[in-house]
Amino acid sequence: MSDLVSMTLAEARDAVRAKKISSRELTGAFVAAIEQARPLNAYITETADRALAMADAADKRIAAGTPGALEGLPLAIKDLFCTKGVRTTAASRILGDFVPPYESTVTQNLWDAGAVMLGKTNLDEFAMGSSNETSAFGPVLNPWRAQDSNQNLVPGGSSGGSSAAVAADLCLAATGTDTGGSIRQPAAVTGRVGLKPTYGRCSRFGIVAFASSLDQAGPMTKTVRDAAILLTSMASVDPKDSTSVDLAVPDYEKLLDGGIKGLRVGIPKEYRVEGAAAETDALWSKGADWLKAQGAEIVEVSLPHTKYALPTYYIVAPAEASSNLARYDGVRFGHRAKDVRDIIDLYEKSRGEGFGAEVQRRILIGTYVLSAGYYDAYYARAQKLRTLIKRDFDQAYEKCDVLLTPATPSPAFAVGAKTTDPLEMYLQDVFTVTVNLAGLPGITVPAGLTANGLPLGLQLIGKAFDEGVLLRAALALETAADFKHSPAKWWTA
């Protein structure tokens, strides 16, 4: 059984298509693994019956000789994607037992390709967090533990349920969403691959919105090849999303070949930040050497406005969130407070009871920065900085094709370690937010272990809609790093 669940997406695809295993067998193995892994709290909603029914339908299509690109492959879906007929929570109490009567475009694309849904994974409430500790459904535990330690670590966030599920073999691959690092950071601290595509590559239709100008769906996988396969099916041009870009989706797996000879890899000097672990810096240098050894040219570049990225992000994202979350008012769906005096009381109580502390904090920040008298000082300036940050990248890309940076300032930390200090938590995104602000694609690849056995990742940032080159560089990094580690399955004991 464990052989089945530890397969990569590519391996499973080939095995299912060659009829070496059935989707039913594969799906059954994951259903069993998920049951055993409940202590990790990776899934909010398990959909075993639906998964097995989807697997049977997939097996029929395979028998009929009409398999889709992901036929019969069991996936985990971040519970931010609306799934028709299956409760969607955004890990918030405010949505109550909301069951969407519609399907998000990304998940519809996956089902159209024949994929099987195992369930909906846990996340930070409304994707706001870097440790999956703001979830109304409790924290997710990282499958990894430090050597000789029983301490529970966070799986990163906000896509912490998805990262844990991929790392613990509770799915072949998962979907995530990334607003400031929510795919890449959790993938990095769980030793797996996380890809945030270019803004506009995957449709946002049907994804519960956090910050509309930053949100982007992407794959969380065991390998770079798997990310290429999954992105090919997730991405589409969607007339239902005005910000979806009208550009044909290539077969990213085919673009993996060819190596990186002559590729110019930029090293942004501003990414050497205070407070980052020495191991992080060392790994970064090692990564550059690996790429150089495969024929890449390493160039030093400057992204001078990097230091403004976090403050800019923490103005833009909460501003948009404060508006996006106004629809959760207790009037039409989701949680409604009882025994209210009037409509204002209904709003205040429903939202007060429904939203957790971090979400409320961000709504307050966002409301503040958009308020008359503060708009110009905060929101308007943040927009200007965003333009400058984008320009930094444009200028850097005159000298290079991709950028190599650390993925996170530190490896996974202990549950509860940063919950009392929001600012320290926000620093988790220091290497990833710039990519969202500039709308660029970024990928994190596991590259090594810390001295005490925790995974560390490296990030590659590409040009807009240049995921092909980005993935090829990531494959080169993955090959050189040869990261074969998996966490011990302590939770089955």
Binding site: F81, C82, T88, A90, L95, F98, P100, P101, Y102, S104, R204, F205, G206, I207, V208, A209, A211, S212, S213, P239, K240, D241, S242, T243, A319, E320, S322, S323, L325, A326, R327, D329, V331, R332, F333, I343, I344, Y347, T367, L370, S371, A372, Y375, Y379
Partner: protein, 502 residues
Amino acid sequence: MTSPAKIKTIKGETGDWEIVIGMEVHAQVTSNAKLFSGASTEFGAEPNSQVSFIDAGFPGMLPVINEKCVEQAVRTGLGLKARINLRSIFDRKNYFFPDLPQGYQISQYKDPIVGEGEVTIDLKDGESIKVGIERLHLEQDAGKSLHDQSPDSSFVDLNRSGVALMEIVSKPHMRTSEEAAAFLKKLRAIVRYLGTCDGNMDEGSMRADVNVSVCRVGGYEEFRRTGSFKTLGTRCEIKNVNSMRFVQMAIEHEARRQIEVIEGGGAIVQETRRYDSKANETRSMRAKEDAHDYRYFPDPDLLPLELEQAWVDAIAATLPELPDEKKARFMAQGLSAYDASVLVAERELADFYEDLARGVDAKAAANWLNNEILGRLNRDGLSITQVPVNAAANNAIIQMVSDKTISGKIAKDLLDIVWTEGGDPRQVVEARGLRQVTDTGAIDAAIEAVIAANPDKVEEVKAKPKLAAWFVGQVMKQTGGKANPAAVNAALKTRLNLPDEG
């Protein structure tokens, strides 16, 4: 050019005052689907039957601009002779209200789709003045709260939620309640000509917010000269006035109220007021919760709206003839400014007139329409589109008058007949023997008969030529009204030796 007409003032206790009026008109865009969703916009459907998940603000739903609505806004802008902004931006106007499902209204704040333009309004005395248009922008309508369905709950109908509105903002260029009504009327005519809004105020397709302020005589001229609002008074906005008559009454009342407040030593507070048509007064509206700070910011779900000049030009090429141009053409055909402006006020009326006037004298057609057709329609409570006798049939009647087949008197009787009984006017004339007598023999015989019966009058008319009219009447009576009055006149003059000017 501004009007050279004398300024209309209001007498107060302490001197004369002037009113200054600006308007914000919400016009529902004529389109089958809403501004950002595919849901229908039909009026009067079952509550919540025309609501998409986008209109209801469901999680993960995204707006997608309806190109038809953009086209309609551009068409309207062109009709207002306004600048079309090739790049405009949709913003979110944030506030909480039960009938606002997203918690924000998508509107255009800093960068509207249409910039400055102007509307020429026609006043009763035939005078025209120009009212500046500040801007036109596109926005979503909200839903409707229903408070009368249950004693302890309110209900929400989202059918209107997301319907496209054009907010058309005038400059404060109106000075009297009549001008304000004339502006609204003209705007309504323009959008109806363009087919961009049905202008139906009863159904709420067109609603006006009226900004009223008062100032001392001369303050307005100073404002027009300098562009500075300093010489104008503080304005109050009267929200959602939904008829031309109420617009006038609300302005009259509000101006009086403001003058009384100021003359009583008070100050006008800038506020939003509601007009109560039953009490004929305006009342301060309780401010919407947090209404002061809408936290506008560009909607990140929508890209800036970029138009191509060629696309705008293509729309411009399909604009119909608008009221002002039509009026000028009608006047060139010989109509008075007044007649022409009455006819062009409604596109249907103008169209009817054009069919009616085909091949006949323009003035005769206009008179026939104004005096005969509109009079009967008014009497029967019908509109021009419900007229029982079509333009072609009326045109035949006018032709029969002009070629002297029938007299003007018979023409009116004939219209009454076909109005109630139907039928082809020419056939009715033949069937009932209504043809005018132009046979001079028959007329001469009738004249001789009248002269023979009234020798005293024959003597009298020599002294009093005006008495000729009496003879005409008698001869007409003799011929059963069918005699051609001109022929009778001519024959009488000769027979009675009357001077020409008689």
